[in-house]
């Protein structure tokens, strides 16, 4: 068997380095979480992580995160499309604006959003008479999560779109495809893997978000408490073990969901013939 020469050092050192790095940065802190929670018996663990308030917080955290990621997938795609396909004055400015939610301290985002959507805020004062309350309701959580998740979809879809030749669309049109058909059968399959990546990132970010949500959520037990808040609540009561137990469940659910989405992404990539 002939050895192929590669530019970078061989497979062995590279994999070794990767695994070591991953272990130090990711696995070690996570392992310490699991160790701490292992002080609980299984029954206690189960009681802690299925308490009604905690269970309600999973529903809100994961539900709102999925919804926010979905909203971001739709509007992020639109934004990326505009930025790639059209030229308009101030385009660079818009492009830079998109990254702001990355850079802004999340507490600032939370306070700003709350100020906007509260009863006396610029937007809130118009919504309130319509019977729509955003701040201090679960809807507020969604708004905050949409805000912080926006850049992910745009930034993952944008480069793929830039690589995508206009000729494909023209070819589709000349072969008699309608606008919808072109989008559905020509453009979307190419974008889908990137779109799913963006969705996953936005989702993962939303699940872990604490700073911005805490200001806008209202934090009413059973209604608008997110899971990270439950963890903090337990810490405030010096219940380190309970806090890690909830953290562990969150990690597991997130991991399973991320695995599922990654699987889906691999599947679509294969199906559309863009397997790496």
């Amino acid at each position: 068997m002939a050895r192929t020469t590669r530019v970078l050092p061989g497979f062995g050192p590279a994999l070794g380095l990767t695994l070591t790095w991953l272990s130090i940065i990711v696995l070690l802190p996570l392992a310490s979480v699991f160790l701490k929670a292992s002080n609980l018996s299984l029954v206690e663990f189960w009681d802690v992580v299925t308490a009604p308030r905690v269970a309600a917080s999973y529903r809100l955290s994961f539900g709102a995160s999925l919804a926010a990621a979905a909203i971001n997938a739709v509007f992020g795609l639109m934004l990326a499309w505009c930025l790639v396909r059209y030229r308009f004055p101030g385009k660079r400015l818009v492009d830079a604006l998109i990254d702001l939610p990355f850079a802004l301290p999340t507490a600032v985002a939370g306070i700003a959003l709350t100020a906007l959507y509260a009863r006396n805020g610029w937007i809130g004062q118009w919504l309130e008479p319509l019977g729509i309350q955003v701040a201090f309701k679960p809807l507020g959580v969604l708004v905050a999560l949409v805000f912080i998740g926006l850049p992910f979809v745009v930034r993952t879809v944008q480069p793929v779109l830039e690589d995508f030749d206009l000729e494909h669309e023209e070819a589709a049109a000349s072969l008699g495809a309608g606008r919808w058909q072109t989008f559905r059968y020509v453009i979307l399959p190419v974008l889908l893997p990137a779109l799913l990546t963006g969705f996953t990132l936005a989702f993962a970010r939303a699940v872990g978000e604490y700073g911005s949500v805490i200001f806008i959520a209202g934090n009413i037990p059973m209604v608008s408490e997110i899971t990270p808040l439950m963890i903090i609540t337990k810490l405030e009561q010096y219940d380190y073990v309970g806090a890690t137990a909830v953290a562990e469940v969150m990690l597991l659910i997130s991991f399973v969901l991320l695995l599922l989405i990654n699987g889906l992404q691999a599947w679509t990539a294969k199906r559309t013939g863009r397997d790496r």
Partner: protein, 339 residues
């Protein structure tokens, strides 16, 4: 290889000795406190440093750290080397002792007055003109009144609020626990936003314009009015409230290690001196010795009936267990199907 490690160890040793020698010449004391005491301790530290210099000739560097009381206590538990702690409630200091073993069990007996050199109480902050006509606890549960208070699970201040309401209902209904629970449930059902800390609740009430009444520490309420102008809010003092005792303690394990035991003791004792008491009153805390306070400051504290945590609830440990631990009364009130 070996020699270089030894050399490095030697270097580190020399550096450490040099550092500790420096510390000897100029002692440093870290006071870990909670949010609303920032201005008070700034002023107090200046006074104490001058006093220490005058009596002993030593210069002392006083450092202070502020944040939510629970967070601050956790920082100390996790290794922040506080020589003294001055927190919002005894329970937090109990937990530091429990989890680190750096405080004696009877820490609260080390200084006078339950180790609380100044006190406060829980009052109502309402909007100017008191549009909802709120005068006492009963007015809070009238229809159409929205109440702002933080989450007692995460906020020490909120625990005082909750217990004050509970204590009022107990007294009014001939010590009926069931009635007290009903009253507190009613109050909580009127809270639209449960912030995680007292400052958050103040913001919600003041900046966002949510709610008709804010349950607050008297010192926070006075401070808010002073900062925001008396034309926007007023304080309503209920007929009965709770005596809030923010306690102080030496973290003996740390003080011993730093060699600051004497200094720490003098520092906390100075809080009880005429100077300390006067400053506390100036910064909106009720002094234990009102005779030392400026009469103008003292006039801000109206007389009212006060219950104590030890008298009405059998101490913090018990109150915490009954009301705020997981599965306690607070959780039961919010349990599904209990609306």
């Amino acid at each position: 290889m070996k020699r270089s490690t030894a050399f490095r160890a030697l270097l580190a040793g020399v550096a450490a000795t040099a550092l500790s020698a420096g510390a000897w010449a100029n002692q440093t004391l870290l006071n870990v406190s909670y949010d609303p005491t920032r201005e008070f301790y700034q002023a107090f530290n200046t006074e104490f440093a001058a006093h220490w210099k005058k009596t002993t000739g030593e210069t002392v560097t006083l450092k202070q750290s502020h944040g939510g009381a629970g967070k601050q206590a956790r920082a100390v538990i996790d290794g922040l080397e506080a020589d003294v702690v001055t927190l919002a409630l005894a329970y937090d200091i109990d937990e530091i002792g429990e989890l680190t073993g750096k405080l004696p069990k009877d820490w609260q007996k080390k200084f006078a007055d339950n180790s609380a050199p100044y006190t406060s109480t829980i009052v109502f902050l309402v909007r100017k003109g008191n549009p909802k006509g709120i005068k006492d606890w009963d007015d809070l549960v009238k229809p159409g009144v929205e109440i702002i208070t933080p989450n007692p699970k995460t906020s020490g201040g909120a625990r005082w609020n909750y217990l004050a309401a509970w204590g009022y209902a107990l007294k009014k209904n001939g010590n009926s626990e069931a009635k007290a629970r009903e009253f507190v449930s009613k109050i909580l059902s009127k809270v639209p936003v449960l912030d995680s800390g007292a400052r958050g609740s103040t913001n919600t009430f003041v900046q966002r314009g949510i709610g008709d009444v804010l349950l607050a520490w008297e010192n926070e309420a006075l401070l808010s009015i002073n900062e925001l102008g008396p034309d926007k809010f007023e304080i309503v003092v209920p007929s009965l409230s709770i005596l809030a005792e923010p306690p102080v303690a030496i973290v003996e394990g740390v003080a011993k290690k730093h060699g600051t035991e004497k200094l720490a003791k003098a520092y906390l004792e100075y809080l009880y001196s005429p100077t300390g008491q006067k400053l506390a009153a100036k910064h909106y805390y009720r002094p234990r010795h009102p005779e030392h306070a400026d009469p103008a400051d003292q006039a801000r504290f109206p007389k009212l009936d006060l219950i104590t945590i030890d008298g009405a609830f059998g101490g913090w440990q018990k109150a915490q267990k009954t009301h705020f631990s997981d599965g306690g009364v607070f959780d039961q009130i919010y349990a599904p199907g209990n609306k």
